[in-house]
């Protein structure tokens, strides 16, 4: 059994609870031990880097230093946190002398999606699939920060990523080749310019529907939140009706691997996935 430090981040304690729960659930099945960082603090998110560059780096470094004390690798489920950590890591790598920090740059920072898509783990996933998600057409939605900027994320096919699609294929689902995988949903404007968020999310929902997707899958808390919780108001604003569940990829992993709690995770969605999953015979 492998052990990892775990930094859930603020959203996973609230709006993205099902993400947190499903990650823990999936790790349990895959026998990955997660140890939540003690006394972690917010990464600073957009607000920090929009306000002050120094503050943004320091807020991230504090958590990295904590993880370093714990040793080994740090699993980060939220892309925003992940991105902030990677930026801080780069800063330390390039300008260590400018920072007073305990952090030595030794933590291997892992974004949850990349982590589960890695070759070593994906074979294990394949073994553990008990309910293949046959007939489920999914539009994988990566969003911005999980792939961009590539010098931070190290994702090679950052315009047309494939790793989540591959993972979905292994779960038995049918990933669709749509070309909006990495478009922005307006995430950081979630509270302030909801009009922009609605417009961008509307475009994404439309395109997923055109691709005849049954649902969207993501690994970003903000994307999930924007696309799931606002579907009704977007529908009203643009005179359409959407019924596209938006899953965290870990939820679908849990479903395919037969986790006992999947119903509880799905119950947290505002766009109810149960109807779809029953129609596909994936849930009773």
């Amino acid at each position: 059994m492998k052990e990892f430090s775990y930094y859930p981040g603020c959203s996973l304690d609230g709006t993205a609870r099902e993400y947190d729960e499903s990650i823990r659930g999936v790790c349990e099945i895959l026998e990955v031990q997660l140890r939540e960082l003690d006394d972690w603090t917010c990464c600073g998110a957009s607000s920090a880097h929009c306000t002050d560059g120094h503050l943004a780096i320091e807020l991230a470094l504090r958590n990295l230093a904590l993880a370093e004390k714990g040793g080994g690798e740090l699993l980060v489920p939220c892309v925003a946190c992940y991105s902030r950590f990677k930026v801080a890591e780069k800063e330390i790598r390039e300008h260590a002398e400018e920072w007073e920090t305990a952090y030595q740059g030794k933590v291997r920072i892992r974004y949850a999606l990349d982590f589960f898509c890695e070759d070593s783990l994906i074979d294990l996933v394949r073994e553990k699939v008990v309910t293949p998600l046959s007939g489920l057409k999914v539009a994988c939605y990566y969003g911005c920060l999980s792939v961009r900027p590539p010098d931070i994320t190290r994702v090679k096919d950052y315009e047309d990523p494939e790793h989540m699609d591959r993972l979905m294929g292994i779960l038995g689902a049918e990933p669709l080749p749509w070309s909006y995988k990495t478009d922005c949903c307006g995430a950081s404007l979630v509270m302030t310019r909801t009009d922009i968020v609605r417009k961008l999310s509307h475009g994404l929902l439309d395109m997923a529907r055109e691709a005849e997707a049954d649902c969207l899958v993501t690994g970003c808390t903000m994307c999930q939140s924007n696309l799931d919780t606002r579907q009704e108001e977007i529908g009203k604003e643009f005179g359409k009706k959407y019924d596209l569940p938006v899953f965290y990829f870990t939820e679908l992993m849990g479903l395919a691997m037969g986790h006992r709690d999947v119903k509880r995770w799905f119950a947290r969605h505002l766009t109810d996935p149960m109807r779809l999953l029953s129609a596909k015979g994936l849930m009773k």
Partner: protein, 190 residues
């Protein structure tokens, strides 16, 4: 700062040749490399909501149109999605430049466009400063109190609460003294 050579209609006294240097200093990006291909603007998902397009921001910085840039809504509307930075043929990190412009705007005391966005950021940071973490409900309420827009997303909040997505009370605090230390250094250097 007088008009050295160039007069731009509507900006009679507003050119500041040192602005470009200031931006470069704060962000380290060579904005002069830009040849105005407009790829950044063409690919920007939120450009439609901006009063100045990203490529125009670069142009204005080059021409020293300081006020115009710092009071634009563009620098706040930018969603930091990095689409522009990734595709710029001159390798200019435009998203990073937007950050730098926000920093300068906040420090310079100009009247900010998109009032709500800086308010949100400040509320957000206050939340970190006091609790180490973000308590989403608390954040929402403080933001609404400051912007005095209590109706925004009201129905949505209730739905999310029902689904267990919003917690009434923060589950844990973190950071303590350390966080306050970080915030005390806030605004110094980088």
């Amino acid at each position: 700062m007088g008009v050295k050579g160039i007069k731009i209609e509507g900006h009679a006294a507003a050119t500041d040749p040192s602005f470009l240097d200031l931006v470069a200093q704060e962000g380290g990006e060579n904005l002069l490399a830009c040849y105005q291909c407009q790829k950044c603007s063409a690919g920007c998902p939120v450009a439609y909501a901006m009063d100045i397009l990203p490529n125009q921001v670069i142009r204005m910085v080059q021409f020293g149109l300081r006020e115009r840039v710092l009071t634009s809504n563009t620098i706040w509307i930018c969603a930091s999605c990095y689409t522009c930075s990734v595709r710029c043929p001159n390798d200019i990190d435009i998203a990073k430049t937007m950050d730098v412009l926000r920093h300068i705007a906040l420090k310079s005391g100009v009247k900010l466009a998109e009032r709500d966005i800086p308010i949100f950021h400040s509320v957000f940071l206050d939340s970190i400063k006091s609790k180490g973490r973000i308590h989403e409900l608390g954040l929402i309420w403080q933001y609404k109190a400051k912007t005095r827009d209590f109706m925004k997303d009201a129905a949505l909040g209730w739905k999310m609460f029902r689904k267990g997505k919003i917690k009434l009370l923060p589950s844990k605090f973190g950071g303590g003294k350390e966080i306050r230390g970080i915030f005390s250094r806030y605004g110094k250097g980088k």
